[in-house]
């Protein structure tokens, strides 16, 4: 018996739970403007998130998946991606969407039951939110393949949850990325839960990053509440990808601080103790502390930021609430480029029925 291959899974963390550097920081820390922009986006995301939950609770929005605990990861994704890269999101990527240019109003429309919430004006090539778990992984490699076919120096970031990595789509897609050397970075957001199902039930593997090994891709773990660890891993993976050096899998470890969605009650299946501990690792607080210590942040700036975010969110909510529903005929207007003959009578029927507005 001889050993013919050896593999390693590495893990990176730069800041401790209080935001104090554990040692040298990566070069990304020197770009103060970018770090501050990251922090601002995290706070905006969190402000938006609690508002969206409140809207749902008061019947003004549909089922909504809180992004609490994912803000650092999403922000790093949004920052590391170039405008002409393509994002293949799942459904809990609000922080990234905001930086990609999706408006808060569009996000609310989407969760408020309006298809126009996916007609994103500012990132026309990004894939829409994917609800069927892990299916976006296959699209991501298709987009990556298109880039390779055309010899473009672009890349794709594809997000998937820890639960999503159990679905064949994930392994099939990372396998293709490996076989075809595609410029696709898979960001696995391991928040320890898939609704009520803990990470330990998803897989017997010690880490999710090691799933990359079976695809011949590099797999790496980062602390998902450590902005520097996440942004460094993404910057370098995307640079490699754009340079034609292939894809990667990054496992970002965090914790889902909220319920799965507003339709869920997490107290049924997890302890408040675990949740409390997870809050102690919160990445926003960590980065805030770091910025304070580094002299880039003050309580005044924080106060200003909070009220700016609130204003931005309130503004978006007003626009959302003021948006009238589409006419019911819209349900047939985007199905095909041109409405087929056989559907014309159905469209007429709807138009007749709802002349003068929806029921």
């Amino acid at each position: 018996m001889k050993t013919i291959h050896e593999f390693r899974v590495d893990s990176t963390c730069y800041l401790d739970d209080q935001g104090a550097p554990l040692g040298d920081l990566p070069p990304q820390a020197e770009n103060t403007e970018r770090v501050l922009a990251a922090y601002r986006n995290m706070v905006l995301t969190r402000t938006f998130d609690s508002k969206a939950i409140a809207l749902q609770r008061t019947g003004k929005c549909g089922t909504y998946p809180s992004v609490l605990g994912h803000e650092v990861i999403g922000t790093a994704i949004g920052q590391s991606m170039a405008a002409n890269d393509v994002f293949a999101p799942y459904y809990r990527d609000q922080a990234a969407h905001i930086l990609r240019g999706v408006s808060l109003t569009e996000l609310l429309l989407y969760w408020g039951g309006d298809e126009r919430g996916s007609a994103w004006k500012n990132c026309p090539e990004d894939l829409p939110i994917s609800v069927p778990i892990a299916t976006q992984c296959c699209h991501a490699v298709g987009v990556g393949a298109a880039m390779r076919i055309r010899d473009e120096a672009r890349a794709v970031v594809c997000c998937v949850g820890d639960g999503g990595t159990s679905k064949g789509d994930f392994s099939e897609s990372i396998n293709l990325a490996g076989a075809w050397h595609l410029p696709v970075v898979f960001m696995v957001i391991n928040n320890q839960w898939a609704i009520s199902t803990p990470r330990s039930i998803q897989t017997g593997a010690e880490t999710i990053a090691q799933k990359a090994i079976g695809a011949g891709l590099p797999g790496h773990i980062v602390d998902g509440n450590d902005y520097f660890a996440v942004i460094e891993a993404l910057d370098s993976a995307l640079e490699r990808a754009r340079a034609g050096k292939g894809g990667a899998v990054i496992e970002a470890i965090t914790y889902r601080l909220g319920d799965h969605t507003t339709a869920d009650d997490a107290t049924r299946y997890r302890s408040s103790e675990d949740l409390k501990q997870a809050w102690e690792k919160d990445g926003i607080k960590r980065l805030q502390n770091y910025l304070h210590e580094a002299g880039f942040w003050t309580p005044e700036k924080e106060q200003k930021l909070q009220s700016d975010c609130k204003a931005t969110v309130d503004h978006a909510v007003q626009a959302y609430l003021a948006t009238e529903a589409e006419p019911p005929t819209a349900m047939l207007d985007y199905l095909f480029e041109t409405l087929p003959e056989s559907l014309k009578s159905q469209r007429e029927r709807i138009a007749d029925k709802y002349r003068g507005g929806a029921a």
Binding site: G62, E115, K167, D169, S196
Partner: protein
């Protein structure tokens, strides 16, 4: 196979449809050790609709299994279990997520008995909540029962009341062949009905005549039975006597009951929320037009969803068949 943990005694309770599902699962697990349940979030969480609540506590993790997130795997694992003589009841969290299990369902569950000439078979149930109207996000409102009805070797059963849910689910679990059991989630909690928890199954492969009438036969299944029954009320106020049939098992189809009724009334209106083109309504309409040609006094009408994707929730009501639509269709065929 009588379980030592059996502790259920017959009792009568007012329950909702989803509670009736839970009650049937609990009864059968208590009385047959070979029944196991599996799916996403069904054990500790008791299912996102609570259909499996309490089962893990009563029967333990060995028989109540949270699976990894993979519907294809759930579908296939249940098949493997079934070939070993277990009777798995696998939950798909929403019908919109069943599609990655299609290969296993079509190529294996439905064919295992035929392929092995009876050597192995698949006594399993695939449960899935289906249908729209609950303000859910995209993919949570599917009604694609027609895809399953077209697959030989499958039974497709759809309850539309707590009593029928209880009895049909028991029958489905006991049935030695694979059953797709689609639960109309819009009426999961719409009404309560008194259900005797006595382990009595009611037959599959049969339609249920919910209301007798002489002028027109209204045919539906699942959640739209609600509007169909309401339409019958409205029609009755207009002195139109409508017979109402719940198809119950959409495949294999009980054509006899349908043809008997239409032979009597001479008119039929089929109601379903799935899109029209190629829906189960097409088969029902074609079967009636073939089998009751001479008795039909008007073309069979279909009141259905439109041939498009179920809209997100702001417009879902504009997609779903409404009471008025049914009444109008009935009046139209009667006017002919």
């Amino acid at each position: 196979m009588n379980s030592s943990t059996a502790r259920t005694e017959s009792e009568t309770r007012d329950v909702t449809l989803v509670e009736a599902v839970n009650m049937a699962l609990q009864w059968e697990m208590a009385h047959d050790d070979s029944v196991v349940v599996l799916g996403e979030d069904i054990a500790t969480n008791g299912g996102v609709f609570r259909a499996t609540a309490g089962l893990k506590e009563q029967f333990g993790f060995k028989r109540v299994m949270d699976t990894p997130l993979a519907e294809n795997l759930i579908a296939g694992t249940a098949i493997g279990m079934a070939t070993q003589g277990l009777k798995p009841v696998a939950e798909f969290q929403f019908m919109g997520f069943i599609y990655s299990g299609m290969e296993q369902i079509i190529s294996h569950a439905s064919r295992m008995r035929n392929r092995t000439r009876g050597r192995l078979h698949c006594p399993l149930v695939y449960r899935a909540p289906f249908g729209g109207g609950i303000h859910a996000p995209e993919h949570h409102s599917e009604s694609t029962e027609a895809l399953f009805a077209h697959i030989p070797g499958l039974r497709v059963v759809i309850p539309s009341s707590p009593q029928r849910a209880y009895g049909q689910l028991l029958a489905a679990i006991r049935n030695p062949d694979p059953v797709i059991f689609l639960e109309p989630k819009r009426i999961y909690r719409a009404v309560t009905q008194s259900v005797e928890n006595n382990g009595e199954a009611i037959p599959l492969d049969t339609c249920f005549t919910l209301r007798e009438g002489s002028d027109v036969t209204l045919i539906s299944w699942g959640a739209s039975m609600l509007e169909t029954l309401q339409a019958a009320d409205v029609l009755s106020e207009q002195s139109v006597s409508a017979e109402v049939i719940d198809v119950g098992t959409i495949s294999p189809l009980d054509r006899e009951t349908l043809l008997c009724s239409v032979s009597k009334t001479g008119r039929a209106v089929i109601v379903h929320e799935a899109c029209r083109n190629g829906g189960v309504g097409a088969e029902v309409a074609a079967s009636i037009a073939e089998g009751a040609y001479l008795e039909l006094k008007a073309p069979v009408a279909r009141v259905t969803g439109y041939d498009t994707v179920m809209p997100y929730y702001r417009n879902e009501q504009a997609y779903l068949p409404q009471v008025d639509d049914i009444v109008e269709a009935a009046r139209r065929v009667i006017a002919l």
